[in-house]
Symmetry: D2
Subunit: 374 residues, 4 copies
């Protein structure tokens, strides 16, 4: 039987495979899995580096990753592993997932291929979904935001690991949304460039990003659909790339249905995330330096006290005063800020957190360490 259990002192280790082990997400999976006490890495694939030692190509893993990149069949990977992480671009994962599942392996897919309904996927990613079972509604993936769906994840065969932005955005406001307090959220997200991958691009070109901040897909980013699907409230999402390697800071401008005090909000968050070890509700503004390299999501909020329009001789004429329509009621707006490491909680770390849940390990196994500060 494949499930890993503790039996006395001995641990039956989970046998894992990584499809796509040379990108930032794949490498981060390896970094974390190599230190994971209940895991055995059985296969790492890379077409480009096939036949080379992982730590020859990636000196930072020397001498830990004494493994060879392979380009083997899905069937062979399935034979060796209990669970496979697919760390490949969207549109590619769907080539591997059906066969993996059919061979009895659990799959944690880090691509976007199984995060949305088939219809929405095809509309947003503008390509036909090749997994026929998924098309016909016979294949079901659990959305792997561990703090929200742990029960379903425990029983899942296929987990769709969330996108980096949705992780930071959804965790920031889920308690308020679930408490039916939220009318509308503007997510203004700021990400390190590692989310863009290992391949150099105009955006990652140092002279273009240093001393800059780059907004992109300002109203059209595909992660918006993922956020909306989970939150089911009015959501606006604008991402920016900042001159940093890791981390996403999400500033959630939340319009509330009614006035609410900071104490009430705190209580809502405290209860919602009770027992969730990777959520830290802070007393001060989150900082990427406190989550660097970790699986934590730090959250903080501040209610805006009063938001009256100005007076005097400015741009808008007197007739523009719009208290009736647009004016926000006192205390009916809160800014929630979350900070995550995009490659850990926003990617590889959360995938391993999900694996832990799927294999009945403690959720924080292999992920329980403080940030690299400063």
């Amino acid at each position: 039987m494949r499930v890993c259990r503790r039996s006395g002192d001995a641990v039956v280790k989970v046998k894992v495979g990584v499809i796509g082990g040379s990108g930032y997400t794949g490498l981060e999976l390896l970094r974390l899995l190599l230190s994971h006490p209940a895991v055995e890495i059985e296969a790492v694939t890379s077409r480009r580096h096939k036949g080379k030692r992982v730590d020859e190509v990636n000196p930072h893993l020397k001498p830990f990753a004494d493994i060879e990149y392979e380009d083997v069949s899905v069937r062979e990977i399935a034979r060796r592993c209990d669970v496979v992480f697919t760390a490949v671009p969207h549109g590619v994962a769907m080539d591997y997932v059906p066969e993996l599942l059919e061979n009895g392996v659990k799959v944690i897919d880090l691509s976007a291929d199984y995060r949305l309904s088939c219809e929405e996927y095809e509309r947003i990613y503008k390509k036909r979904h090749k997994d026929e079972q998924f098309r016909e509604g016979l294949r079901h993936a659990v959305y792997g935001l561990t703090e929200l769906h742990a029960e379903d994840i425990a029983d899942a065969e296929l987990v769709a690991n969330p996108g980096c932005y949705p992780t930071g955005a959804i965790l920031a406001v889920a308690p308020l949304v679930r408490a039916r307090k939220v009318k509308c959220v503007v997510f203004d997200a700021k990400s390190g460039i590692s989310g863009g991958g290992v391949e150099p691009s105009q955006r990652s070109h140092f002279p273009n990003l240093a001393e800059n901040i780059i907004p992109y897909e300002v109203t059209t980013h595909r992660h918006t659909a993922e956020i909306r699907k989970e939150l089911k409230v009015s959501v606006h999402f604008t991402p920016h790339v900042i001159p940093a390697i890791r981390g996403i800071l999400t500033t959630a401008h939340v319009f509330l249905r009614e006035s609410i005090s900071e104490d009430e909000i705190y209580e809502i968050y405290r209860q919602f995330y009770d027992g969730k070890k990777f959520i830290r509700i802070l007393n001060e503004v989150p900082s990427l330096q406190n989550v660097r390299g970790t699986n934590f999501c730090d959250i903080w909020f501040e209610v805006e006290r009063g938001a009256s329009v100005g007076e005097g001789g400015g741009v808008g004429s007197r007739a523009d005063k719009v208290k009736e329509e647009g004016e926000v009621e006192k205390n009916s707006r809160v800014v929630v800020i979350s900070a995550i490491d995009n490659l850990v909680k926003g990617g590889a770390g959360q995938a391993i957190q999900n694996m832990n849940v799927m294999f009945n390990l403690r959720e924080e196994t292999g992920l329980w360490f403080p940030a690299l500060f400063p």
Copy 2:
């Protein structure tokens, strides 16, 4: 007579003084004034550096600033100058401005002391305003956002130069506000750290800012009042410091009163800023690298096409669907992004632009050069 006019080939130069010439704003004034063809610098004050040559203390100005820092009386400065820039912290400018004005000198104040009404100033900056004339409504300052108030500036004795954030924020949305299209704006601003001044602080400490982005005064920044006073619509403002030296990128999430097309918006902006040489309406997302060191404000916008709530089994239950209340109508939200150099258009450059207007010079005199790219 003090007004500068071209008479034949000869130019009567404007005699200028800078009170507070050792901070970033003061130094930027000097950098720009030293290359200004119609200006003569007559006095630069600094208590700390009194008696030292400006370019001894600031090697980047060598050998241009062959001037001595002084600590002379306001009366003496007034005697030498046609116009004085006060580049001192808020609360300090009001010590100089009344006497300067009484001695017949024009003043461009780069502090916050004269930007708001006296009442609002005292409420927001939490200190008594010491200028009795201003308290009693006998002293009037023109808000120096040149593109909006050039006519008043031309006749002003006292110009309150705008804050860096308000400059980027107001210019981004003024055309839409003036056209009565705007219900509410969420300004999410990202600034280089030079706005924080020359003195080292925890926020400017490299290990704290590098690889990070720091939100601060998330719902309480004092520039909010300045923005509201000018725009007179519902305004929310959250600033962040990014790991960059110069520049402010402002992401304005604008909720419109009605649906509007991008072509219409473009036309509104084109007309509003017609003839304004420092406003560039771009076809692509603004970049701090295109305004670095310049007085330009680059603007771009994108209408959000449809913003329906998601479906499926997420956090919010079905009952949370709030189309009636919170849902945003198709095309009724636009994101406007502006980019400025905080020390130039957001400070010293705009101050000189105002001086040009006040002394009947062409607005772009001494400010007409491209950005330092890359």
Copy 3:
């Protein structure tokens, strides 16, 4: 008895104290010690934060560091601990070390107080050494460069943990020096700013360091003495601060006594560092990203093939040709480059490595993990 031993499955943990737990070095000690499987933290001192929880002051350690900062007597610390790390500025450690040792505790001093002979210390640090035993030669400290002095460290009561720069510099060239190949070395070192500490300064002020590189104490840095003491060859050392948080890259320009091939050099290094797990001899140029957060020292070298003077009509006249005197023989110069994390191998990590040796633990205990890449 205090020595830690494995007895069956159970591990008698080493009881450690940290004097000076709020600076970067102290915090890095805590970060690493908190994950160390054979350690129990018994005391952390900080005058400033006395009475506060460590992870309240340092959110990145939440919830790991459920410890209180104390300001207790040396005697009390000694009572609780087997070993104490003194992570305080030079000149301060000597206030604690004698009493700690007299109370039977082992000490690993991360300051400069015991790295040099008393005479040299007083000459270079320009202050009287307060430890009378040390003055009189009755107190002996072992220089804690683990790879070079492991045997002495194993028996030491007092270890003087090396400076960050000397660690990178000495490890880079020790094999060649020991093999008597070296005539002279110019060390040109580039460090992240975290070496400068948690307090903001002009040098750490973001606008001064970003887009810059700052040379300092160009011929007079105090670490030079430490390097010379260990290497005993002609040493020149010039440090620079780069716009990075962590890491030191040392470029060692080595003038050899005789021509030598890269193969020979490789063999010298291989043998010298045989079995040293934290030394990685690379095939490619070292990168700070491969050692970030780790205790590794990556080393690489390249022999300069031929170094003839130029010809033609340049600055130096024909008579300046100096083949006899200054000319370097073919293959008699090698550039060795090393990369370390200044806070780990250059500080807290090496200190723990030394503790492991002193307590008969495997050298890599608690330090065996790959770098945070990218």
Copy 4:
């Protein structure tokens, strides 16, 4: 007649062309030439952007560069221009230079094609030189380090503009070399990444360069030949890329033939650079922020006072003490540090400085402005 002369108030402008106007060097030429009071830009070529407006492709030049990129014949360019800047990769310039010269145009070549003798070029750049006149010694280029060769430049038809590294390196030590004081120099150079060009690469990929410093071509960089040709002393050169956009800081570790005082050195530099307006001898360590965007070369030096080998029980045994052989005499080593902007003094700015000299304009015309600080 082509030479530009001032005749009364009117200025006959120099007609310039830029071949290769879309790279960083070409764009920097345009930025500077657009503000140059005695220049008219007559042609800018780019194959990729042919037919597009320069400021459409490069928003930072809007609305200054109302010029169209062309892909016209060399003959046509020659017809329009007095002088042409070739800002193309090495190996390409030689395709244009002969025909330009034959058509009576002066050429300032910013590539490496004419900096070395033909033989050395072919050996170092590993390609055949296609300019037959140059091969046969019938074409002569003047090395365009303006401070050293102004007289020859004034009469030159073809100027080989120096490489960025050689500019910073040669200017740092030329006075000492010319005074025959220098035995050997180790240049350890640190450059911003813009020297690598506009195309994204692994080296310019933000996650690889941020928080890092990258040594490359450690003993084999091709600029070494250029430095040696000019200095004619023993030269070692190792370049690094730092996480910065612009600037080169060169640390020159100079071994002197004899002891020399700082006062003597200062006098040597003062005399050598007397009247050279772009050389600033500083009293403090140079900083890239003081030269950003300018044509200045800032220089500073420090004599090492004594450099004795250490004592005690280190790596080298007593027999390794090598006072006789390797030891450096007191005061016989000096570290000289220079700072330039690689794209200005190290490229486009120096090219324009050379143009000014060639056309009998004041050397600083169009280049006389302070740095963008901070």
